[in-house]
Symmetry: C2
Subunit: 344 residues, 2 copies
């Protein structure tokens, strides 16, 4: 395995370096070939590295950044004022070839705009899309996109998302002829928004894709499709709804073994039950699959949840490692040429 | 308590009379003041009434209908060809005053179109909205709308939904100055679709409403708001996503006590755990809160899930009883006059 260098926007996210630095150390520990460029305020980052093992510390380099893009900044303004920010400098490492991918938990709109500006979309892609891989009930996985990069997606964009999703399912999940579905409010052809119906017509006429039709929200985790395509607004709300419900269940399960007035054996039993259930539902825990991949660019960019904890941010770094190993942008580019309609 | 008569589209839904007839009998059993008009094929309905208690049978009347609107029919075509269908005749019972409300598990688009045509929207309402009351984590409840009556909702419609939702929270949930939020993909003012931002501006400027801002999908069940407003496409996908995840969890919990090779005491323990958890999570079971209310009409119409089982359809009938008792259309109408901007 060869050397792998990733750039981390150390200042992004709700907790900034307090999460990104320990997560970086954890990622370095678990992969001896990994090198990280931590972009941000050198003093803060250095103070958080105090206890790091020196062998691990050697594979980590700090790159100074003067500013941070606020998570509630308007993307257009943030991009204009982005020079010197940790997010921009991290992306520039990818552009210049110093790093092979960038990971940020910062402002989604700014990340997507800056990534598009600096790394450029692939030929045939109008706008990049945020994709994630969700675990499903059958213990397989589903590629879902767009998760919020584009609040308004027309039919052409939905078709591009479908192509990129299918490539991801083939390359990352090793699924042959992955099933592709559009998220809609009914399974009948006449249902839903016109953009979805138009995209369906194009997908049905594309023998290169294994298009299976519409799926509804309740099929998100059932494993009925390998790729689920929707616009960014719906995808974002859907993903967050799912996460909210899963987290609520997990927290209710956790409280299962608690309570003051219980006998010791009931408390012990409670804890045993809790452990068993955690094992059973653990693969659905949102922290396990943090990290949405910004697809359609000439480079790899991973967006972590703003609220990611250390474990979740480590998972995002590992997603970046995997995306680089699998040469995701190169493979999408190659497939796009074959599938997308020629513009000339 | 006075006599209450409801019209049931006995043929609608995935299971038709096999669910609607037993559910009707169950509803009649639990409320001695209830009378039901079952609209559909007399032979099928009669055969399913064979074992019914005669005292209950007396409060039930069959109204013959020649046809059924298919659940996958295009609403516009279905409405044109609706004369003589069970759904239309059931709605006509409300229009003529024979019934005080109508319940159907049939084609949502057709139900909404026919209801609008026959019962007419209230003054100030462009299009009716589907509303439901969801249980949340704090064991309170949240009013959510629109759930799919309008796939594309402009800002004026979102404002109307907010007003109707607030009235419902006051009247049905007895909440004083209910909090009203818009579902969006971020909490910052600049986020989301322009229709949502425009609606937010109007709501912020309405002292009659207790508008609290944007909420995201993960807050659907947290109880941070009493009323959650979104367009019909997003609402439908969100609700179904939530239901899908909840059902998955409940089914995983159910399988908890199963397994062939287990010792008898483990199996017993498993069943005990299952019972405890079912109690803990039971209030989130989608079957418990079936029945979306079509708001904004001069009459009460309840849409049941197409896939509702007997228990769920009974809940929908009980929702109709409650809506009639609370005089929902009258109260919405009164409040609309005060809150909505005058058109002239």
């Amino acid at each position: 395995m060869t050397r792998l260098t990733l750039a981390i926007d150390a200042m992004g996210g709700d907790f900034g370096p307090c999460v990104t630095v320990p997560a970086s150390l954890q990622a370095l520990e678990s992969n001896p070939h990994l090198h990280l460029l931590l972009v941000g305020d050198p003093d803060t980052i250095t103070s958080l590295l105090a206890k790091a093992d020196s062998a691990i510390r050697e594979r980590l380099q700090i790159i100074a950044a003067e500013s941070v893009i606020a998570s509630d900044a308007r993307p257009s303004q943030a991009i204009r004022a982005s020079r010197g920010s940790s997010m921009r400098i991290a992306l520039e490492q990818v552009k210049s070839g110093q790093a092979q991918a960038c990971i940020s938990a910062g402002n989604t709109g700014a990340l997507m705009g800056l990534a598009k500006l600096l790394l450029k979309p692939l030929d045939g892609i109008d706008r990049p899309a945020l994709m994630t891989v969700l675990p499903h009930q059958q213990h397989g996985k589903t590629v879902v996109l767009d998760l919020g990069a584009n609040v308004d997606s027309d039919s052409a964009m939905l078709v591009q998302f479908a192509v990129m999703g299918a490539v991801m399912a083939e390359e990352i999940l090793a699924i042959d002829r992955p099933r592709v579905a559009l998220l809609n409010i009914g399974q009948e052809e006449t249902k839903g928004l016109s953009s979805i119906r138009e995209a369906a017509a194009v997908l049905r006429a594309s023998p290169e894709l294994n298009y299976i039709g519409y799926l509804e929200g309740n099929d998100l985790l059932t494993g009925k499709t390998d790729v689920l395509v929707c616009d960014g607004f719906v995808g974002n709300v859907t993903l967050k709804t799912m996460e909210g419900v899963v987290r609520m269940f997990l927290s209710l399960l956790k409280s299962q073994g608690e309570g003051k007035k219980k006998a010791w054996w009931l408390r012990l039993l409670g804890r045993w039950i809790q452990k068993r259930l955690a094992k059973k539902f653990g693969h659905l825990n949102p922290d396990q699959y943090n990290g949405a991949c910004l697809l359609g660019l000439r480079g790899t960019v991973i967006k972590s949840h703003g609220a990611a904890n250390q474990r979740a941010f480590t998972v995002a770094i590992q997603q970046a490692e995997q995306a680089v190993r699998r040469q995701v942008p190169e493979r999408i580019s190659a497939r796009l040429q074959a599938v997308l309609p020629k513009s000339d």
